[in-house]
Amino acid sequence: MVSGPSLGERPSLQSRDYVAGGATQTAVKILVVGHFAVGKTTFIGSISEIEPLSTEETMTRAAQDLDDLKGVRGKTTTTVAMDFGRLTISDRVVLYLFGTPGQVRFVQMWEDMARGALGALVLVDPERLADSFAVIDLIEQYGLDYAIAVNNFDGNPQRAEASLREALDLLDDTPVVTCDARDEKSSAAALTTLVSYLLARAG
C-alpha cells in the first residue's frame, strides 16, 4: 500500500490551490462523462489550473475489478472515483469540471454531480461507441444538456459524423466535435462548443 497523509496531518497547500477571490466567486460545474478509460481524467488534466483531484464515496474496490478492460491498450489504472479540476473563468465565476464514470452503479455520485450542473460533455471513443449508450442514457435521465466530443486515440480512423449521430441516436442540434483530450486548446475548444450550445438552449 502506498502511504497517503495520515489522519491529523495537514496537506500542504499553496495559495494557488485556493479559489482566487473566493469571497465573491460563484461556483459552477460542468460534467465530463464517458465510459471507462475514454480519457476523462486526461481531458480534465489538460485544462485544469490545479492538479486534478480525486474523491470517492466508498465502493471503488469492487468496481475496479468489474471494469471492462477489453480493447483498452496500456491502461494500468482506472478512474475509480470522480476526478475533478478547476478553472477560474473571471473574478466572478469559477468553473469546476467533474469527471464521472459512466457506470449505473454509481447512482449516488451521479445525483451529487448532476445537481445544478450547467451541462455535460460526453467523451466518446469512436471504436467503442456502444459503450457510450449507458452514459448518454444517464445524462438524459438527469435532464442535462450535452455535447459529444469524439476523443481520437492515436490517430484511429474517425467515423463520419453522420454515422456516429445515427449510432448514438443524437438529436439534430446536439453538437459533435472531435478533440484530443491531451491538448489544452483542443479540450478548451470542445468545452467552448458545449457552452455555446448551452447558451443557445437557455436563450
Binding site: 497517503g4 495520515s6 489522519l7 497547500l13 459552477v28 445537481r115 475548444a189
Partner: protein, 125 residues
C-alpha cells in the same frame, strides 16, 4: 504528484467513518454541495479543545482561503460523505463560512453561461 495509482484511503481504514463524524448523519445536500465554497470564519482566534484532530485539520485547511467541498475531500483523502458531515458541524458551530452555488434560474443561467463562454474564449483564444 498524487495520481490515481497511489490513491488509498488509509485514514478511513484506520478509523471508521462514523467515529470521525461522531455519529452525525448527512447534512442537507444543497447547503454543502460539491461546489459549495468554504472558508474559515475570520475572527476565529482560539479553537476549543473539544474539536477532534480531523476537525482541526479541516479548519487548518480552510484557514488560508476558499476551497470547494469536493476539493477539501480531495486534499484530505477522506470520503466525501464524512467531509460533508464534519463541515456541516463546523459551520453550525460558527467556525466556517459557506458560499453555496446560486440556485439555478433561467436568467442566472444565461448570465453565467455568457460569462463562462467569454472567459473560455479569452483564456484559450
Amino acid at each position: 504528484m498524487n495520481g490515481p495509482e497511489d490513491f488509498e484511503l488509509e485514514a478511513a481504514e484506520l478509523v471508521r467513518p462514523y467515529v470521525i463524524t461522531k455519529g452525525r448523519g448527512l447534512p442537507d445536500d444543497d447547503q454543502l454541495s460539491l461546489i459549495t465554497l468554504v472558508t474559515a470564519a475570520p475572527e476565529q482566534v482560539q479553537r476549543p479543545l473539544r474539536l477532534s484532530p480531523e476537525e482541526q485539520r479541516l479548519l487548518d485547511l480552510c484557514s488560508a482561503g476558499y476551497l470547494s467541498v469536493a476539493e477539501i475531500a480531495g486534499h484530505t483523502r477522506l470520503p466525501l460523505g464524512v467531509v460533508r458531515i464534519m463541515l456541516a458541524g463546523l459551520t453550525e458551530a460558527g467556525y466556517l463560512i459557506t458560499r453555496p452555488p446560486v440556485a439555478r434560474a433561467r436568467l442566472a443561467d444565461k448570465e453565467l453561461l455568457e460569462e463562462v463562454l467569454s472567459g473560455l474564449r479569452a483564456k484559450f483564444g
